[in-house]
């Protein structure tokens, strides 16, 4: 069970959150070709290591949060509001 420290509510169990995928994906501009939209929609990096992810605290304050999680150890190193930026550490 992960413990995620919501910036509004404090530390809560993973059970209160829902996982919403990679938070680093950005939508291509309106003039981008179909290939760019295909990649945007279907291709994910699936890294072995740190990843910035969307988690929604839908059992609590319902806010969308960015969470920096290690995909092997499940360590949660940082949690931020949706409008903030989280840097992925090297290695």
């Amino acid at each position: 069970m992960l413990r995620i420290t919501c910036p509004h509510c404090g530390a809560r169990d993973e059970l209160e959150f829902s996982y919403r995928g990679d938070a680093t994906v950005t939508r291509p501009g309106p003039d981008a070709d179909a290939g760019a939209f295909h990649d945007y929609l279907y291709l994910r990096r699936n890294p072995r290591g740190w990843q910035v992810e969307w988690w929604q605290h839908n059992g609590g304050c319902r806010a969308f949060l960015k969470v920096l999680r290690h995909t092997v150890t499940h360590e949660v190193r940082a949690v931020a509001a949706a409008t903030e930026t989280l840097e992925v550490p090297g290695a």
């Binding site: 509004h8 509510c9 404090g10 809560r12 169990d13 059970l15 209160e16 059992g59 609590g60 304050c61 319902r62 806010a63």
Partner: protein, 196 residues
């Protein structure tokens, strides 16, 4: 207002003692409340706080907090959202009052029929709640004037501690009030639960 007096969603629940016949039972009360949801419009924080001070004599509570005035309690539920609660007198009165006070600053929705408050008190209230509630309810972590929204028995519940007896006000969607109370009676069966 002309609306008929609503039936409390838990009106059919059997009053009296449920569970064990201990000397210090949990006490459950089912008050009739007016519950109004207030949703802040973007950029209106300062104006809204001033309007709330003028109308209710209190500042909007911050995250995880609740404040009680003479008649109205304000509970923070999520960023920019609060619940106002008061004893039910005239149908829709609190919502009308809030809509007038916060016009242009916040959207106001009457939730009096949509949500139901169950008041739980007694020395074993923390232990009973902890059977399904993942919040840390220890006095060091939670206490009077604290409020938090969390799933209890898979039912979204707003937990608001109003005193150190301890007394908890548990607000759930009305359609889930009956299964929630059923869970509470099971959780408190070892101590006994007295429904007033």
């Amino acid at each position: 207002m002309s609306a008929p007096e609503p039936v409390h969603p838990l009106a059919a629940v059997a009053r009296g003692r449920h569970g064990a016949a201990g000397a210090a039972p949990l006490r459950v009360a089912l008050p009739a409340r007016e519950i109004v949801q207030v949703m802040l419009r973007r950029g209106q924080d300062a104006a809204f706080a001033a309007a709330m001070r003028a109308a209710l004599g209190m500042d909007p509570p911050g995250p995880g907090q609740a404040v009680s005035g003479s008649a109205v309690t304000a509970i923070w539920t999520q960023p920019g959202h609060w619940l106002l609660t008061a004893a039910r007198r005239n149908e829709g009165a609190l919502a009308a009052r809030a809509a007038e006070a916060f016009a242009g600053m916040a959207a106001v929705a009457d939730q009096s029929h949509g949500r139901t408050t169950i008041v739980l008190s007694g020395s074993a209230a923390r232990e009973a709640l902890s059977r399904g509630c993942r919040l840390d309810l220890h006095p060091r972590a939670f206490g009077q004037g604290r409020a938090a929204h969390t799933p209890i028995a898979q039912i979204g519940c707003l937990v608001h501690q109003t005193d150190d007896a301890p007394t908890f006000e548990l607000t759930v969607f009305s359609t889930l009030a009956e299964p929630f109370l059923h869970w509470l009676l099971e959780a408190g069966a070892a101590y006994g639960v007295e429904i007033a």
